[in-house]
């Protein structure tokens, strides 16, 4: 079943930078997709368009049979509740407990007095604790987030997304600020969620080896255009050169530069 469909999507930033140029993609429910490309190629823009964190200028973007561009106000918020998002810098509230972070997705349904006092119903707490258990950090539930390591924080973020029960998870460089071992643990968690719950997962990632190892499908982006779209097993050195450009095209590093001190 088609979950996400880009039809001739173009996105230009106000400063004139064309981040996406005529992108056509179809992603099915339950797929695990890695998006690779150079920094600034448009990977972040691509996934942020899916939950309307960025607006598109041209084309249509359908998610679960909803035309994303046509949503307004409250509709956008309702739509976003069905899409989870993971960030490179975790984006947790660090000055509060782990469980309070995981409970955030329940906030729109709370009574006003609960919002004022910061209280959550018991059944939501149990649901949040189960999400923490899934990523193996149940024992940290009542620790403050700023006491946790980077890897643990990213798993709190993952638990926050699981507790949201979304149909799609978008992950923007989820392992870029983690060490290689922790990165694997987090990627394993993604894989597990993908297999157990059939959520679609889209990951922006710089580590090509991880992308090829974990994802079923790889999308290569270069200067806002999709230059590769296929199975991860089919990715060869030629494909990578096409996505990243060969060494010869990299900007010269030995320009005589003057440093601003």
């Amino acid at each position: 079943m088609t979950m996400i469909e880009f039809k001739n999507v173009t996105k230009t930033y106000p400063n004139g930078v064309k981040a996406l140029n005529d992108v056509n993609l179809t992603i099915d429910q339950g797929e695990f997709v890695a998006i690779i490309g150079l920094s600034g190629a448009g990977k972040s823009t691509l996934i942020r368009c899916i939950n309307r964190m960025h607006e598109i200028n041209e084309g249509t973007l359908m998610v679960n049979d909803v035309d994303v561009g046509k949503l307004k106000g409250k509709q956008v918020r309702l739509f976003r509740r069905n899409i989870g998002m993971i960030f490179q810098s975790f984006n947790l509230v660090t000055r509060t407990s782990v469980i309070n972070n995981v409970l955030i997705s329940t906030v729109p349904d709370l009574a006003w007095w609960r919002k004022v006092l910061g209280l959550f119903p018991k059944e939501k707490k149990i649901d949040a604790l189960e999400a923490l258990d899934k990523v193996g950090i149940l024992d940290k539930a009542y620790n403050r987030v700023d006491q946790l390591s980077g890897g643990q924080q990213q798993r709190v973020a993952l638990a926050r997304t699981i507790a949201q029960h979304p149909a799609i998870i978008l992950a923007d460089e989820p392992v870029a600020s983690l060490d290689p071992v922790t990165a694997k643990v987090v990627m394993d968690d993604f894989k597990k969620i993908n297999k157990e719950t059939n959520m679609s997962i889209l990951i922006n990632i710089h580590h090509v080896e991880l992308a090829l190892e974990y994802a079923d499908r790889v999308i290569g982006i270069r200067q806002g255009e999709v230059v590769y779209d296929g199975k991860s097993e089919a990715v060869t050195q030629e494909v990578l050169d096409q996505i990243y450009g060969s060494q010869a095209e990299l900007p010269k590093m030995n320009d005589p530069e003057e440093a601003e001190v």
Binding site: T94, R95, S105, K115
Partner: protein, 275 residues
């Protein structure tokens, strides 16, 4: 590196590496800035007509009045309690009300939360207009509206606290890491909900600390508001100074100092706990 006029006059320092690469460092602007500051100081000295010899010839008058306050008139103590509690009450009520109302104002003035520049510009302007009003003037205006007494003082302190905490908090909010806010918006929370759950926990310690500090300062402000008829010990000070009853003035000041000291210590203790 862009060369400004300054760089043409004061040449940048050049470091040459062994392989011939050059790195330039701007000459420091500090001497230039110090020169301007010195110039402004001299001008303001001349304009305001500061006469240091006055300190030598008339300075002892400070001590004369201070000496006249000793020993303080202990019998006057019973007259101080009423106005003193008025002062504390004005300060406390005004601070709490101001601090509470500062939250929505800070939210609406923060450019990272309210993208509409017109809207947050309006609230920023409103806060800075409030801030330009000296508390004494606000109190004076308030006495015209609410009549003589503590109500006018409370309103004056309320307005000052609102503008002070509102400004400090929106500056703080604008420097907060917006990651969690973005995450909450991506999960379908409204801006107000995201603010409540992402920004509030982050700025809460600063908010409480700033509010306590404002309360500390407000006690001192509240003490002089009586001069314009806004109630509290200021009324008493004005009256006793007018009658040159310095021992009684000494008594008022002594009690005021003790109260301010105690409140500052308590507030300091809690502010230490918060950070």
């Amino acid at each position: 590196m862009r060369e400004t006029v300054y760089d043409k006059i004061f040449k940048p320092k050049t470091y040459t590496l062994s392989n011939g690469k050059e790195v330039k460092q701007h000459a420091s602007r500090m001497p230039f800035i110090l020169l301007i500051v010195l110039f402004i100081t001299i001008v303001s000295w001349e304009v305001t007509g500061v006469d240091l010899s006055m300190i030598r010839t008339r300075g002892y008058q400070f001590i004369v009045i201070l000496l006249a306050m000793f020993p303080p008139n202990l019998n006057f103590m019973s007259n101080v309690w009423g106005p003193l509690f008025d002062t504390i009450q004005m300060s406390l009520l005004g601070s709490i009300a101001g601090a509470l109302l500062a939250i929505p104002f800070a939210l609406l003035s923060s450019s990272n939360i309210i993208r509409n520049q017109l809207l947050n510009g309006f609230f920023k302007l409103f806060l800075s207009i409030l801030r330009t009003l000296p508390t004494l003037v606000t109190a004076l205006i308030a006495t015209f509206i609410f009549g003589l007494g503590t109500m006018a003082g409370t309103v004056a302190i309320f307005i000052f606290t609102l503008s002070y905490i509102g400004k400090l908090m929106y500056e703080h909010i604008e420097n907060v890491d917006m990651g969690a806010f973005e995450a909450h918006e991506s999960m379908g929370l409204s801006k107000v909900e995201a603010f409540r759950y992402a920004i509030v926990p982050d700025v809460m310690p600063t908010y409480l600390s700033v509010s306590l500090y404002a309360f500390e300062g407000n006690i001192r402000y509240a003490a002089i508001l009586g001069y314009v008829g806004a109630g509290g010990v200021g009324l008493l000070l004005d009256e006793r100074l007018g009658w040159r009853d310095y021992p009684s003035v000494g008594m008022v000041l002594l009690i005021l100092m003790l109260v301010v000291f105690v409140i500052e210590r308590i507030s300091e203790y809690f502010r230490m706990k918060l950070t």
